[in-house]
Amino acid sequence: MYYLGIDVGSVSTDIVVIDENFNVVESVYLRTKGRPIKAVQEGFKIIKDKVKSADIAGVGTTGSGRHIAAFLVGADVVKNEITSHAVAALSLDKDVRTIIEIGGQDSKIITLENGMITDFAMNTVCAAGTGSFLDRQAERLEIPIEEFGDYALKSKNPVRIAGRCAVFAESDMIHKQQLGFAVEDIIRGLCEALVRNYLNNVAKGKDIKSKIFFQGGVAANKGMKRAFEEALGCEVFVPKHYNMMGAIGAAILSAEKRSKWTNFKGFEIADVNYETASFECNGCSNLCEVAVIKCEDKVIGYFGDRCGRHSGKVAV
């Protein structure tokens, strides 16, 4: 028996298959590129040769695209990212007290006690310090994002970069580059700025106790891990599947549900042609933006209407 977890995030779509002991059997990490349906289908194409649809006993979805993904694949559990990340971390280590999670568009802190979430926070209205910003800077410096962290580790004298706002951080970096500072020193300075921003903004007022887990795509960045360790004065653990913890958590939740049957539609949906469109509903003054999913010219679902006048008609 296997369980499937799907995390459709802003930047990446992660799909994992776990066994009954919550070991990862298969995993796929793809870029969402703003097309969640395509991303899930791509992932299924890779997995379907390795795992049989009939072996899947439960499906969980999470991430900002969890509802659309749930609808597409037939999920048994639809869970928010915070609970999913916490569940996955707890399955590895019951003693984890703090989870730092930095993803593509948002960053979170989750504090736990006795295996239970006690508090959490997410960045408010600003995405400074998240993965997309690092991605963009790597691109601008023409350094592959995978090597970004190694550069930071090479630095001996970090340069101070203003981390409060992504736009200002970028102009600060450009100014320092123009002055001739080494790239690795600037990158390390950037990592430190992001950590400062995270601790003063997202984690403000929260008790950070060890053991600390660092997960989400940004945890791949060794420079960020070291900057966190220096700022917090203790070790920060990056789990092996740091970038798939959300998907793993969703899969575990579907396993914990222990339903006798699953809604899973099978990996075969990878070959079905889905189309999306949107319109503004004029039914009332709310003027909701409604998204429509079509399968071979037949409407199969609506999203985004507040009153349910469209989505209510199709069971999700």
Partner: protein, 366 residues
């Protein structure tokens, strides 16, 4: 004279029947929408708080429908609401709109004579007798009280209802019916009828739902558009909610009790240990309500405020101490012009999850 007023939750219902009773022509601005926000943001200072922008949108949409007089309550406290009317007057004047702004401030701020002069500007337009005017005021006060109470009842009972969505449907149905009449007496009987219907909604007390208090800045907790319809979302999730601040609460506390210095006394007393002084807006009330909701056995509280709200920033920094001391989870949500709901929904679901798991539920399912 054709008057209008900004939206804030059920305010339009009370204002509508007041004007109906007085026999004064009025325009209810179209319900808050992306359009109101877009127009409002276009003409507002970029850094001002969200309510200002939505209100500007309301005014302009009403002016398009023929309104020439805006009625607004004022404030001379330390919160930025105090400068709303002045700034809005200036902006509308620059836009070439020829209007009259009637700002109703407390007599302690502007004096009795000035308040009387301002009220007279409205009441002199009414063809009704003195007694009828008085009755219009009394009826409007009863109507706003009844609709706020009905809403509170729906929010509380939604957690216990047997047929999901019944409370919400009844509430919306009642609001629709109220717009079809211009007679305050009839409105009162509609409201009483719906109170009865709401009392008869089939509920199961064994359900023991999660109970959450909604606290924070008054506009953003009362006006559903500004908080992305948080109370509707919680009703759908089967959560029972309570919000103390409402238009009728405001009228009772600010207009009727303030001459005696008794405004929100119970709430302010509760806040004393953590925040002994008023910090403007309803910052002290927010702290007091957090403590009261803990004492009343709620599972948690959600604080909502617009980006840049000074009084609520003060209370936000105090709430973690209360959460720690009382072991009482509090979620702070900041609202601004963003209308994307995904991140907001995530925080809300995660918070309800946290509260459920605290209670020892293993898994709530979806």
């Amino acid at each position: 004279m054709k008057v209008t007023f900004p939206h804030m939750g059920n305010v339009y219902i009370g204002a509508k029947f007041l004007m109906d009773g007085l026999g004064i022509d009025y325009v209810i601005p179209p319900f808050n929408s992306k359009r109101a926000l877009e127009i409002g943001s276009l003409y507002s200072p970029e850094e001002i708080c969200l309510p200002f922008k939505i209100m500007m949108g309301n005014y302009i949409e009403s002016i398009e429908r023929g309104a020439d007089t805006i009625i607004l309550t004022g404030s001379c406290g330390p919160c930025r609401f105090g400068e709303y009317a002045e700034l809005q007057m200036k902006i509308l004047k620059k836009l070439g709109k020829n209007l009259d702004f009637i700002v109703l401030d407390l007599p302690s701020d502007i004096g009795f004579d000035e308040l009387k002069r301002r009220i007279n500007k409205i009441s002199s337009q009414s063809p009704k007798s003195k007694k009828e005017k008085y009755m219009a005021l009394v009826n409007a006060y009863r109507i706003i009280g009844l609709i706020d109470a009905l809403e509170a009842k729906a929010h509380e009972r939604a957690g216990y209802e047997v047929n999901k969505g019944e409370c919400k449907c009844l509430l919306n149905e009642c609001k629709r019916k109220l717009l079809d009449t211009n007679n305050p007496k009839e409105a009162i009987s509609i409201l009483k009828e719906y109170h009865k219907k709401m009392d008869e909604v089939e509920i199961s007390r064994e359900k023991n739902p999660i109970r959450v208090a909604i606290i924070g800045e008054i506009y953003t907790i009362i006006e559903p558009f500004s908080n992305l319809y948080i109370e509707d979302k919680l009703m759908e999730m089967g959560v029972s909610t309570k919000r103390t601040l409402s238009p009728s609460w405001w009228v009772y506390n600010t207009v009727l009790l303030s001459p005696f210095g008794l405004t929100a006394k119970r709430i302010r007393d509760a806040a004393k240990e953590y925040l002994p002084l008023g910090v403007g807006g309803h910052g002290q009330e927010c702290v007091g309500e957090a403590i009261l909701s803990y004492e009343e056995g709620f599972d948690g509280a959600i604080q909502i405020f617009p980006l840049g709200c000074m009084p609520e920033i003060v209370s936000k920094s105090i709430l973690p101490s209360i959460a720690r001391d009382k072991n009482f989870p509090i979620l702070s949500l900041v609202v601004d012009e963003m209308t994307g709901e995904a991140g907001y929904q995530t925080r809300l679901e995660a918070f309800i999850d946290l509260l459920e798991r605290r209670r020892g539920y293993v898994l709530s399912g979806n």
